[in-house]
């Protein structure tokens, strides 16, 4: 970095947990409802109501803690974080402060360049979301929708251990992949299910004390996180080199102008006057929850990716693409279960033809009309030579259109590849007899004519000749 500066970045990501009901009430968390129709007495802070924690949200937090190798507290404490804002009806947010449910742990990240690194976590704690403010729709007023108020969040906090905008974006992607993989978050960035705040400071070299940091709020796209941090690093270096001080503050990223701007002075932790919430006794994990979650923990993306390379012999690229989402990896494994030993072929089709069809239909792996077993049935006909790769694509399209399984389509369309030598030789001889000039040209050394002759036989067999066998037999027929 220019002038010996080192950037120091820590991320706080808000992971919206995929529960049906809220963190402390039985109101629905479904997205997109009419304003305030999913905010009950607890969510709007009616006096006399009391919060009761959602057991499923607790289970999801435990699952995350185990997945990142963190310490999961048997006893954690809910605290009040006090601040005043219209979309926070209680005047405090129920969060966790001194004794969060998850402490420590690491997230394994792979950078754009393929380099793997671990990002250490400080903690992950349970808390409730605030409502939404609508600033533009009402003359002279701000509208408040409390449907989101009380939605369970897991706030995942890293150590200030990242040193570039690209690494920060790569971490955000890895965390996003992990929480979706674990089935605790739907990962929908547009709906705000996964949001990140970035704390950014710069210092003169890796040994200098940490500089004053600015917090960039609520950036909900991987690309904008990277751009916002890049801009902020440059801004801070510019300020310091001009002899000005960095102010601890919250800054908003302006997506259209690619810059950050000051939003408000940042409160310090003691301004929030955290204290244990007297409405909520300590959160004690139910008996057996930790063991059950440990046993149910799925193989994680990094482990699976490594296994695909080492045990299945797939390329690094295929292994990465297959483990981008658990649905893709599970689909691949389901195909492979029906087609042992054909990992490369299965990977090609799961990532190629199947992915393209799913994509065009707006579906995800695991959905769509062609099941993994049906796809395996099709690939088996490639392996045994019945279908060429090209014909297999036609059969796949027919299967997708609902014309039955691979064998049914092959039978109905008479698509079986001709691998029978007698039939192939008959077709070859007919072509050679009809094209004596080309045969002579080949014998005289014109190799290009061979491809033309193959094409003629293919045409005569309507593309059904087994290409490998056709090549062998044609060459034998033409040899003097």
């Amino acid at each position: 970095m220019s002038g010996g500066w080192q950037a120091v970045i820590g991320l706080e990501c808000h992971v919206q947990l995929m529960t049906r009901s809220k963190m402390f009430s039985g109101a629905s968390t479904a997205y997109g409802a009419e304003p305030n129709t999913q905010a009950c007495g607890v969510d709007v802070a009616l006096p006399g109501t009391l919060p009761v924690p959602n057991g499923e949200a607790v289970r999801m937090a435990v699952r995350f803690g185990l997945a990142v190798g963190a310490r999961v507290r048997e006893v954690s404490v809910f605290a009040r974080k006090n601040y005043f804002y219209p979309d926070l009806p209680k005047g405090y947010q129920i969060s966790q402060y001194e004794e969060p449910i998850v402490e420590g742990g690491t997230v394994r990240v792979r950078g754009e360049d393929g380099r793997a690194f671990d990002v250490p976590l400080v903690r992950a704690h349970l808390e409730e979301d605030a409502g939404k403010s609508v600033h533009d729709a009402f003359h002279g007023s701000t509208g408040i929708d409390l449907n989101r108020a009380g939605t369970p969040l897991l706030e995942v906090v890293t150590e200030p251990a990242l040193h570039s905008a690209a690494d920060a974006a790569a971490y955000m992607k890895a965390l996003h992949q992990l929480v979706v993989w674990l089935g605790i978050c739907d990962g929908n960035l547009q709906e705000g299910s996964f949001r990140c705040d970035a704390n950014v400071s710069v210092r003169r070299g890796a040994d200098a004390p940490l500089g004053t940091r600015a917090e960039i709020k609520n950036v909900n796209s991987f690309r904008f996180v990277e751009k916002a941090i890049e801009y902020e690093i440059e801004r801070q270096i510019r300020e310091l080199e001009a002899g000005r001080a960095i102010v601890q503050e919250t800054r908003l990223y302006d997506e259209t102008r690619h810059q950050t701007r000051s939003m408000r002075g940042k409160e310090s932790a003691h301004d929030y006057r955290y204290f244990p919430d007297p409405d909520l006794p300590p959160l004690v994990l139910p008996d057996g929850l930790l063991d059950a979650e440990r046993a149910a923990l799925p193989e994680l993306p990094e482990a699976r990716r490594a296994r695909y390379e080492s045990a299945l012999g797939l390329s690094a690229y295929d292994a990465e693409q297959l483990t981008l989402a658990r649905g893709i990896a599970d689909c691949f494994e389901a195909v492979l279960a029906h087609l042992p030993g054909q990992a490369k072929l299965a990977a090609n089709w799961v990532l190629g033809e199947l992915a393209a069809a799913l994509n065009a239909a707006g579906l995800a792996h695991g959905e769509g009309p062609v099941s993994p077993a049906a796809l395996a049935g099709l690939l088996r006909r490639i392996v045994d030579g019945t279908l060429s790769g090209k014909l297999a694509k036609d059969v796949f399209a027919a299967m997708w259109a609902g014309e039955g399984d691979a064998d049914a389509v092959i039978a109905a369309r008479g698509l079986g590849q001709i691998s029978d030598d007698g039939a192939l030789i008959a077709a070859i001889d007919a072509v050679l007899a009809a094209n004596p000039k080309q045969s002579e040209q080949f014998r005289a050394g014109d190799e290009k004519v061979f491809t033309w002759l193959v094409g003629q036989v293919m045409k005569a067999t309507r593309g059904k000749a087994n290409p490998a066998r056709l090549n062998e037999l044609l060459r034998a027929r033409l040899s003097p």
Binding site: M263, P276, P282
Partner: protein, 95 residues
Amino acid sequence: MSLDPAAIDHLARLARLALDPADRARLGADLGRTVAMMDALQQIDVDGVEPLAQPHPLPAGLRPDAVTETDASEALLALSGASHGGYYLVPRVIE
């Protein structure tokens, strides 16, 4: 002892209160007395006393993840000072 004006301003900002100068002086004196009482409490020797955040030792009961609440927006919005189109209305908030 009165709380100094800078501290009062900071607290007023956290509480989103607009104070006129007379209130500022009065609140400074009031809060000064409150802080003095806290100082007195802090003189007490609490060595060996466990912090008590909860009056009873029961753990929190957990709720199954089920939607049990139905739309009560009409009744709840009726309790507010102002509402429109299903939204609670508050004085315009400017970032």
